[in-house]
Amino acid sequence: METLTAALRSLLPHDSVITDPVRLRTYECDGLTYHRATPGVVVLPDTAEQVARVVRVCNDFGVPFVARGSGTGLSGGALPREDGVLIVTSKMRRILEIDLDNRRAVVEPGVTNLAITEAVRDRGYYYAPDPSSQQVCSIGGNVAENSGGAHCLKYGFTVNHVEACEIVTPDGDLVTLDRMDPGYDLLGAFIGSEGTLGIATKITVRLSRAPEAVTTVLAAFESIEQGGQAVSAIIGAGIVPAAIEMMDALAIEAAEAAVACRYPEGAGAVLIVELDGPRAEVDEQFARLTEICSGAFELRVAAGAAERAAIWKGRKSAFAAVGRISPAYIVQDGVVPRTSLPGVLAAIDRLSHEHGIRVANVFHAGDGNLHPLVLFDDAEPGAGERAEVVSGAILDLCIEHGGSITGEHGVGVDKSRYMPKMFSADDLDTMQLVRCAFDPRGLSNPGKVFPTPRLCGEVPGVRKGVHPLVESGKAEQF
């Protein structure tokens, strides 16, 4: 480690190489605080060339390296290696170019998601993928996780909005992957690879035109089944809203207690539907939506930005709120086909009763992305284990219904052991071919995504209280 550190110091300015044990601990986990490891050494490069040199040194020494953006990941993807180098992009925060004529911006990986939108909002543009952590998470982290947001039902994920990436390959070459290039879609393979195929050092994103009109509707239903039926009917009517979000009674209760969002009283489920686009189209869709939601006992329509924010407030604070009503909880992130939602929700309810563990449901109903909150009291003996069983059983339900073990938070270290449940050994081996082509020595973020033996007694994804980012108002949790 010492000769490695000396080599790194010869490449980077003094204050860009961190070895002080106290400062190293700042980086020992990401948003999933359950997994911790103190990095061997942390570097804060300023340029792509420096990243490449650091990676080359790691190759010379045969030590692993892990990229880290803002550390908001919820699957332990940026968990460091004690025997390796953590490469943090927080100094690489320049917006290099804004080219509205071509609807694109070129940015460094440490730039936050929201900063891109803020740079172009005045001129009627925005960057579409909007993870709830957008105020803080980095675009490099978004690329690595193929992040989504509430609006990806209509607008897609990071991979649909990235035009090109300059990357440092795991053996230290600077290579540009561009959608325009002929040949294999390496850019598509790289996005969502969770830092295992190299480090993004420059990202060209596509900018979107702000829509002419936005209409946000809150529909309150007696039961979650009715809410689910409305979702199906909306899709069945050929409407693709910008977002369809749903909350169940327990989630509403928690949100109410925390932020007094004043959702209709007695609702078994609320649905938030946002329509956007050309005004004439939004108006027409809104008329049909009102008909479809005729079973709702209350329908609220936001007249302006302030009312829209009020409607979203309850939904956006639901996670933090749940953190306030339960000493500990696991946020699950699974996906089911939208039409399986009613059956899966009923099964979650059964699981909850069987194990005596409360589950609050808050989810992206439009694309079947569940974020069940598995609540428990960690002071109660055995409760953590039962919560873990419920949380794992929910993922099994997702797989059984043809869904996925993760819709947006990634596999990281947290879910790698679930990968063999979703994929066969041949599927995983084939993915390894890609890994080996990019990273033959396995130095780039090893131990993530693909299964490795699990440590005894490891409980997945447990959180206590409110996430500090949420608490400080810097991020919302969806």
Binding site: A189, I235, V240, P337
Partner: protein
């Protein structure tokens, strides 16, 4: 050997030639397992294989270095599942795009690619060539609409990635890698796509003079939200522009676009050239920053190519109508590539009868692509030499 697999095999004839290279046999697998059996047999015997869908674009790309077996997917033509409520469809690779479209239309849905629904074009061929039509401006290209894939590797391994839900970030996305891989990594056996509801209405605004660059930009950025902005310029001089609006209030939005364009006729039918490649003995594909569409158009015209394509999405096909000698074409391609690359774009030759023409420009990721090919196909048995850099 091949016959022992139990898969239907026939002797190849001259019509089965892949860009002039005649295979010995044609295999007609009916299941994923049969594709696997054929490829395993090929691996044992070191036979080179080329997958084929409808065979309409087998002349795209370089001729294979060798070709023993043509794997014809025509028998794998079923629609496996259309989950209309989930806006998802899963189909076998040999299903034709028009059969797929017809089935989806029954439920008021579509796969938002624009193949002209030639009766032979298959799902697998469309993916393997990654062809994109006018509406890619709004909906993206095949890689954006593909959410799950089943492939068979050259050693017979069957691998799946993605799934049947739109939102899914578990594992690497093999679908991206196989989209546009031109049959060089393995055989695409099944694919799952996200669908869109069929738009209630469609209107085209058509004007006969190509607008200046900044008008194109204003069309693309218009809040009337066009789905496509196309230019057709067959002779390098006379150009037509057509803008498509889809969905509710299409007529009204088209009127708004006419104000931007300053002229044009609004129709409910596409212009007859919409999304069509008419001749592809010599066919080039160019991509460019959308703001440079007018420059790309001018460069193509001066080099003697017809230009047709998605101005707003930065992609167009260049056709050559007359006869052209090898050296002349090679020189024209090199010159035009120089000009397009100076605009920040790319120029590839999709089809040419001549070996002396450089089909591909510079690609920064080529060494990585070679490594991917080596891992997936170390024996170089899948469509060897068909793709860029001799992959």
């Amino acid at each position: 050997m091949l016959a022992d697999t139990g898969v239907t095999i026939r002797q190849a004839d001259a019509d089965d030639a892949v860009n002039g290279v005649r295979p010995r046999w044609v295999a007609l697998p009916e299941t994923v397992e049969e594709i696997s059996a054929v490829l395993r047999a090929c691996a044992e015997q070191d036979l080179a294989a080329v997958p084929a869908g409808g065979g309409t674009k087998l002349h795209w790309g370089a001729p294979p270095e060798r070709c023993d077996v043509l794997i014809d997917l025509c028998c794998m033509n079923s629609l496996i599942e259309h989950a209309a409520g989930d806006l998802v469809v899963r189909a076998q690779a040999g299903l034709t795009m028009d059969a797929l479209a017809a089935a989806l239309a029954e439920q008021g849905q579509e796969l938002a690619l624009d193949p002209p629904f030639k009766e032979h074009t298959t799902v697998g061929g469309t993916l393997a060539t990654a062809t994109a039509g006018p509406r890619a401006f709004r909906y993206g290209t095949p890689r954006d609409l593909l959410i799950g894939i089943t492939v068979v590797l050259p050693d017979g391994t069957v691998a799946r990635s993605g799934g049947r839900v739109v939102k899914n970030v578990a594992g690497y996305d093999l679908g991206k890698l196989f989209t546009g891989s031109q049959g060089t990594l393995g055989v695409i056996a099944e694919a799952t796509f996200r669908l869109h509801p069929l738009p209630a209405e469609r209107r085209w605004l058509v004007a006969t003079t190509a607008p200046a660059g900044d008008v194109l930009l204003r069309l693309a950025a218009s809040q009337a939200e066009p789905s496509a902005v196309e230019i057709d310029c067959p002779d390098g001089k006379e150009a037509t522009v057509a803008v498509l609006v889809e969905g509710a209030a299409a007529e009204q939005r088209a009127l708004g676009l006419r104000e931007v364009l300053g002229e044009g006729t609004i129709t409910a039918e596409a212009p007859e050239w919409w999304g069509l490649i008419l001749r592809d003995d010599v066919l080039l594909e160019t991509r460019f920053p959308p703001a440079r569409a007018a420059d790309a158009l001018a460069a193509a015209g001066e080099a003697g190519f017809a230009f047709r394509g998605s101005a707003a999405a930065g992609r167009a096909y260049l056709e050559l109508w007359g006869e052209v000698a090898e050296e002349e074409l090679a020189a024209a391609v090199t010159r035009l590539r120089g000009r397009i690359e100076a605009l920040g774009g790319r120029l590839n030759v999709l089809a040419t009868p001549y070996e002396g023409v450089d089909r591909w420009g510079q690609v920064s990721g080529l060494p990585l692509m070679r490594r991917v090919k080596e891992r997936f196909d170390p024996g170089r048995r899948m469509s060897p030499g068909r793709f860029l850099g001799g992959i």
